[in-house]
């Protein structure tokens, strides 16, 4: 399956905003780069929009009557009398049911005219599973399920008004809202890892959040048992791509402290940093992370060996980096 095939298959999910942020970003990037997929996307969007012109059909009121009657509930109050059934077969059944009601109704009449009082019951709940929410999902709520109390003065932006069916009295309000979220769990919970990954890789903000996120990740994920390949990968991406030197220093330092498995997963990025990063502090931490890897017994590949060798003999390189590179190479054996 080509990349275009994969992207196109995911486009309907993009229409419903059901893709996770990483895939969403990848798909949008591909659409921007690929003219054919761009046309396909435009066509799908237009089709999706056009399909919205299929109106909702009004539900015949008679259905409700029949349902309520079938379970012995009082009929709803309706302004107009409409034929109960069109089908002959069910009409006969209705006549029979009406007879039953007439015969039995008189017996129950005295009891049923009083309002129903709910008696406390022991509700049996077989199992409870928590709902899983996306931290940034688009949601549609019926108004009667939303609390009328608005707490905390949240920021509301991008407001738009919706009226899909002018014939009814329902309207819609669509908006973006800032809400404060606290997520608790274990460092190894997938949701926790994904959230931290998103924070680490969010290049657009140089807020305290990202810097503190790396500090916190180092403290948490360098503990034995907490190492996570996704966190290592996110740190590797930061090391490779971030424009801020100190963030790259921290990312390299964190990878160094996360142990051999993290260094193994991000070995290529560490080698790249050792080779190309302009900041000597980053290069030092990269070579120290590779040294940890070699000490743990991992065999180094040819590309790593070549880079280390190049660094060890490079006159213009910081002497400490050269010496460390030579130390790492001394562990190479068959």
């Amino acid at each position: 399956m080509s990349e275009c095939d994969v992207m196109r298959e995911g486009m309907p999910l993009l229409l419903t905003e059901s893709l996770d942020p990483v895939r969403r970003e990848l798909t949008h990037s591909h659409i921007e780069r690929c003219p054919a997929c761009g046309d396909e996307w435009n066509g799908l969007r237009e089709t999706w929009r056009l399909m919205g012109e299929l109106p909702k059909v009004e539900v015949p009121a008679s259905i409700k009557e029949r349902v309520l009657e079938a379970v012995g509930q009082p009929r709803p109050q309706v302004a107009t009398v409409v034929p109960l059934f069109r089908r002959v077969v069910l009409r006969r059944l209705a006549e029979a049911a009406a007879l039953v009601v007439l015969v039995g109704g008189s017996y129950y009449a005295g009891h049923r005219t009083r309002p129903v009082e709910l008696q406390p019951t022991q509700a049996t709940i077989n199992s409870v599973a928590p709902a899983r929410y996306s931290i940034a999902e688009s949601r549609v709520f019926p108004a009667d399920l939303v609390s009328p109390t608005i707490e905390g003065r949240p920021d509301i932006e991008n407001v738009s008004f919706i009226d899909t069916n002018p014939n009814d009295d329902a309207i819609g309000l669509s908006f973006d809202i800032t809400s404060h979220v606290t997520v608790t769990g274990r460092p190894t919970d997938k949701s926790m890892v994904r959230l931290l990954r998103y924070m680490l890789e969010n290049h657009e903000t140089m807020s305290p959040s990202r810097s503190k996120a790396i500090d916190w990740v180092r403290a948490t994920y360098s503990r034995p048992g907490n190492a996570d390949p996704e966190i290592a990968e996110a740190l590797g991406n930061v090391l490779r791509n971030d424009a801020h030197q100190n963030v790259r220093i921290k990312a390299a330092d964190t990878l160094k402290h996360m142990g051999a498995s993290a260094a193994s997963d991000t070995r290529e990025i560490l080698v790249e940093a050792l080779k190309n990063d302009p900041n000597p502090a980053v290069r030092i931490k990269a070579v120290e992370a590779l040294a940890n890897l070699a000490r743990s017994g991992v065999q180094l590949d040819s590309a790593t060996i070549d880079t280390l060798r190049q660094k060890a003999v490079q006159n213009s390189e910081n002497v400490y980096v050269r010496v460390k590179a030579a130390e790492v190479l001394s562990s190479v054996h068959q």
Binding site: M206, Y320, V323
Partner: protein, 527 residues
Amino acid sequence: MRVRLSSACVALGLLLASTASARPMAATDRLSETLSLGIGGSFWIDNPIGSIEIVGTDSPGLNVTAVRTVTGEDQAAVNEGREQTVINFQGDQNVRFIQTVVAQTHARNWNSTVAYTIRVPRTVHVRVASRFADRIRIANIAGNVTVKSLTGLITLDGVSGASIIDITNGKVVFHYTQKPSSHAQIQAVNADIDVSVPPDSNLNWIADTLRGDVLTNLPVRAEFQGSLFHGTVNAPGGPNITTQTAVGNVRLLGNGLPITNLKSLRQVAESQNVVAQQKMLVARSLMLRPARRVQLPIVSGGFDFATSVGDVSVGEIRGPARIQTAAGEIELGMVYGDCNVGSLGGPLDLGDIMGTLTASTGAGDVQVRSAALGGHISTAGGMIRVLYTAGPTTLESGGGDIVVRQAAGPINATTQSGDITITADPNQNTQKIVARTEQGNVFINLHPRFGADIDATVVTANPDLNSIRSDFSGLQIRRESDGNKTRIRATGKLNGGGERIDLYAEDGDIHITTISGSPVTIVPPLP
């Protein structure tokens, strides 16, 4: 031409192990081949695993003996190993190429090596490529020689043509039986290099080693340029012998001269006060010094130490300290006097410094537990972390965070990229603080009664994202455009005013927050 040992003229020697237990099995096959090779030709060999011996003779032609040894967990593994370790002959009388081809991945558990003994006309050019060689020996060759290997002992004996040797781990021994007449270049990482020449040879000697020493028992006129040594042996105008190794010693020996006469050129430079006489930069003069590692629990009195490459770890110095290393870690526990430490590359981990502190590293983190009289701390790239300082302190980083946990004296902190976090001492009612970052955030923590005149500036391309936040009232904030950025400036007095606090952050925030209570930091025990 691919020659499978099973189909060539083979004298088969089979070593069998007992079958019932899991003892490994082995098989050895021997191949001999004679091929034409002209006296002006070239010979190349690529043998990733196994030893190689090439000897020049006066006879024409190429004579190869290859011994293939395969060990495996069982007979099937050995058979597979034999199948998948192939010796490949290519070329003609001008260029002959022998290659050992071994499958990189294989289903069964086996290992193979091939040992070559080769006779070639002594005038041919020789090129050897290997990865894990036990031994590579080249003898009696007048043509050019190139050897490249990852590991092994490389011996050149009576090679008079131009030579290039490249090895990562192992040792190189180059023995000239006659005076060198061609250039030789030997480059290694973790390897000692020994070159021996007739004592009356004329040559230019270039030696470079980071952590090793340069030794000779020949008369040499030399000068150091950093770690690089240029010397002339006997008369000028001879060929260049270049010997470079990162971690290892370089020795230039006279044939027949006693080894006990060997002199360390670095020690000679030191004893002749060459370092003091040099007007070179500190870096270069440091590289002249022998590499040494120091680990001491206590030094009574002052401690003055310099080395090219080496780590320094001292528990307690009962006097002033002056320590310089071109590359290495410096770790000090307690210093009872002024402390001047510098590394051109490597981290500094300093404990309690009772005098003025001057600490700098070319690259690496700096950690200081306490600086009683303040000082100057700098790194060209790395984080600076000071737990306590009680005197005027300047902190500079070329890229990295700066943290001062308890500042009881004026602070001047700048970093090119990173966050600056300074917590003022709770006993100080006012003090001067300057914090500047060109790419990051500034966090200043003050107790609620702290008085100061604040001048804080944020320059940002994201005015909605970056701002100045203060727990104190009394600051006026102004915004103005500055090219395609926005300059946000907050000025005002805290608690009626006091010493000046100058803060600057680019593409980040400034936070001035109140802290109550005293900072508590749990530190690891001193070395």
